[in-house]
Amino acid sequence: MNRLEVDFLGVRFPNPVVTASGTFNFGREYAHLYPLRRLGAVTTKGVSPRPIAGAPTPRITETPMGMLNAIGLENKGVDAYVADELPWLKAQGARVIVNVFGDEAADFAHVARKVGPYADLIEVNLSCPNVHGGRLPFAHDPAAAAEVVRRVKGATDRPVLAKLSPNGPILPVAEALEAAGVDGFSLINTLLGMRMDLERKRPVLGNRQGGLSGPAVKPVAVRLVYELYRHTDRPILGMGGIASAEDALEFALAGARLVAVGTATFGDPYAPVKVIEGLERELEARGGRWVDWVGAAHTPD
């Protein structure tokens, strides 16, 4: 009995544990440690239409049980990844979730169209700034976010997940995205945060502020997954601080059908595999299959 198997929007995953976008690049760096097909899926670093150089350094800094990053969306642009990385990644037998973003809705669609052939799912990163919307992230502008999803849906036949930001109310955005035909949700992206350098009397990060991730944000993430699950019937990919099988089960109880491991991979490159192995043991001991745990903490009000 494979207790971990899960269907998500018609795609069969041998287990629910995927990597989080931006923490695993396109998988090549870790492929000599374990076969990438052992993972539920690899979620790639965010891909935009054209190359982006990213933010000034320092781009990362540690905080209590968390980290801040301001990578600034560095990537080589969709054409480079379609040429070099995505075919290689598919050839590993990995399931692939491609994270896409852009300056405007058409950019997202452009990238989604190009990566579609290599993607099992498309994840739309709505936390990036809406260049034509006063640089407010799409995630905080329901209409702009809906337009992105509509365009992406039109550009690909792959199921589309919208990745939500915890830095504003999520329900109004989620509602607008459902109306736009989104297939599922992923959350949380990072929480905005800052750390000060006492020597330089300046923010540590080159970009001043960055995104907080890691165990510190787990309670915030679990709560948002729980809240979203109550309001949607579309499946949820949950993440934010997952570092163990127990963490993953917390997200399942809250309503996550897939879970992503991000920051934990920096502390231990085997973390995604250890979460999978831990889930096998935990479910053996506690009983039930993964899918039985999904949403199980929801009781009538």
Binding site: G22, T23, F24, N25, E29, Y30, H32, L33, K45, A53, G54, T57, P58, R59, I60, T61, E62, M65, G66, M67, N69, I71, E74, G214, P215, T263, A264, T265, F266, G267, D268, P269, Y270
Partner: protein
Amino acid sequence: MPASPELAPPRPRWDDHAATIVASEPLGPHQRLVLAMPTLEARFGPGQFLNLSVPGHVLRRPLAPSRHEGTEVELIVTPFGPGTRDLVRLPVGTRLQALAPLGNSFPISSGDAALVGAGAGAAPLAWLAERLLRAGRTVHVFHGAPSAEDRTLVQTLYERLGLEVRYFSEDGSLGRRGYPTEGLAELLAGGAVATVYSVGPFALMRAAAQLAIAHGRPGYVSLDVHMACGVGACLSCAVQTAAGQKHACVDGPVFEVQEVVW
């Protein structure tokens, strides 16, 4: 532009290795740690680094060994922020994990060598000095510190090699008052045909690099960029080079001074 071949030898693949602290002793404000890493078959080269776990911390810490003998890896750690402060306090016997070996290493010069360092930058430099001496090179060492505080560090790392170190202190309390680049400037001005190697604060490495460039000498620095993954996956360690943006953990940390956009 690919890095010059001497900077990019075929590298053994890194893995996550057990690393047990078998010795820990203060050297002034620094700490000398010795890790036993029995599963690490690959050999570090000077300049390469490991990414070391620290209990209670989400990220690992990149550190460049000052020696690798048998299964023992020697580190010099300067307590700086919360992670290194916790690291230097760990008792002997503590079991950590280290991604290793990571990054590239310093090439061995064909002629004389001038080493310009400060603080824990002496760790990879002293080890490089050991290799240079073994290769028969003449090695000049210039070490800088705010005060006399690095005396034990310098004694421990360089004097075991029989190397004399020219010490520069900002307050004049040991060696010459001033910065170690002054020693380098005199050496090069005197016509020495030396390859320059520098590890230390950014301003020091930049000054050393500019001297090397001005005198038409080859030079190498080890860039200290904030790192998360250490293996090329997070893109946090961007470095601007003449050949475009690179990443210190995989394309470095050692860079040729001409290559870096200073």
